[in-house]
Amino acid sequence: MATQTTEERISERLELSPEEAKLLKEGTLADTEIQAHPRDFYRAMRHGDPIHFDEKLGSWLVTRHEDISAVQSDPVTFSVKHGYSEQQARGMREEFEGYLREHGGGYFPDAIMSDPPYHTRIRKLMENAFTAHRVKELEPRITAVVHDLIEEVVAKGEGKCDAVKDIAIPLTIRVIVEQLGLDQGMEEKISRWSVAVTAQIGAMQTRETMLENAQQIADLQNYLIAKMKEKEANPTEDMISDLVHAEVTNEDGSKEKLTFEEAVSLVRATLIAGNDTTATAIGNLFYVLTTRPGIAELLESVIDDDRQLNRFIEEHLRNEPPVRALSRMTTREVTVNGTTIPAHAHMLLVYGSGNDDETVFPEPRKFDIERKNIGRHVAFGGGPHRCIGLALARMEVKVAAREIVKQMKNLKLAIPESEITYTPTVATHTIESLPITFEAR
């Protein structure tokens, strides 16, 4: 299956309603309105033009589940290395690189955003730290971190908070900071850094915001480099110490130390990737708990049943995937589901649409924890680049769900749903702020 192409398979194109046809013709994922409420646009593409060229973005949007799966299992035709690199600070890349070289200790290309066989070696190195069994061992510690944070929020006694800024963001930062061996108490800084790194693939930066973000990334890199040097001299029990001393095993069995550049990029990726996205998933959890009838009751009813709770979390990730779309680039001309894409074209795999594909998940808007194929969702991507931190992410969301139920009740949105704002980006579907009210349990 690894190199299977999709050239012969063509899905049925459905007739669109006039509104859908108009949306398909005039819509773009660069539109912040569509970014915030994308489902109609996704459906119009899936039904009418499943491999859709978004002119404004200059990217091919892959929207059907089956096509996303096919593309991500062929990392040679569809390159992550080139796709990611094209998307990073798109159109302003040289200036971005130059800034980091001058102010941020160097430009460190993401070692994990690469293609096989190089990618296979780097990935292998990271995998042991993220196995489900390893993550299970962390559960008590993660529970303590999450418990304390929610307890602090509840203890304020105001019965209100910003579920994103006061809970979701600091929660994931505290967990990853502990994993990596960074300093606690830097939540705000790390949150700003995360936003700046993620913005590089969001396709929404002006030159001005790109430079502001580059300054944040330079700060981040300088901080990480100092930490890494410290741990190179005095290793401690954490992932940074592991990474600065890590060796990659080559195909012939010989070993090679990671270069410092590679190590910086991997520490940076681990800090950012596991933090913004998981925070988004937890923010989204508060969103569904406060806006969708029956979900809070459903969560309460499954909270002590591990199997059902796992299914609840998985369905939540399918229903509200934090990562909207990630990049690939064609290395040759290729036909996907009847649409021919030229060589060196930029593509976005729209996971948000794949998880809503009614040919895979009947009644996709129904929150159904009994789905038999729930594991097919693409919230974590798939193929050799499937999210490496998936077990940790699931665990964090699950522990958060448990602690929310244990300590809070009667969660309500404190603003009209229409006033919820989303981060302008094509890469994720992230609520910026979510004021809620609640009662202590």
Binding site: T131, A132, N373, I374, G375, R386, A391
Partner: protein, 111 residues
């Protein structure tokens, strides 16, 4: 090179037998090395996806044993193709006791 024997039937019903399998290697890694169709091993052996799902033949299932709760949770996410003898290939490490084991690659979860 080892000397253990493994028989695998892939998703296209093609059967291959490997008789030089090393102790310690997982069935997922073995399948990936030989390009056995239907085994993806996306998460790299972390028991965190379910893309190396196999059915262990009845005679051998007793020896490999039941999945633990973490593995069960992953198998449960592909409930439509899960059977009583389902295991994740990444969690079965070859040992002399498993010499001769026979497994069939499970189909992907349905659409």
């Amino acid at each position: 090179m080892g000397n253990l024997k493994v028989t695998m039937t892939d998703v296209n019903a093609e059967t291959q037998t490997f008789d030089d399998v090393e102790e310690g290697i997982s069935l997922m890694e073995l399948a990936k090395q030989h390009g056995v169709a239907g085994i993806m091993g996306d998460c790299g052996g972390g028991c965190a996806c379910a893309t190396c799902h196999v059915y262990v033949s009845k005679d051998w299932f007793e020896k490999v044993g039941e999945p633990d709760e973490i593995e069960f949770a992953m198998l449960d996410m592909v409930a439509d193709v899960m059977q009583d003898n389902s295991r994740l290939g990444c969690q079965i490490k070859m040992s002399p006791e498993l010499d001769g084991i026979d497994v069939t690659v499970a189909p992907a979860s349905s659409y």
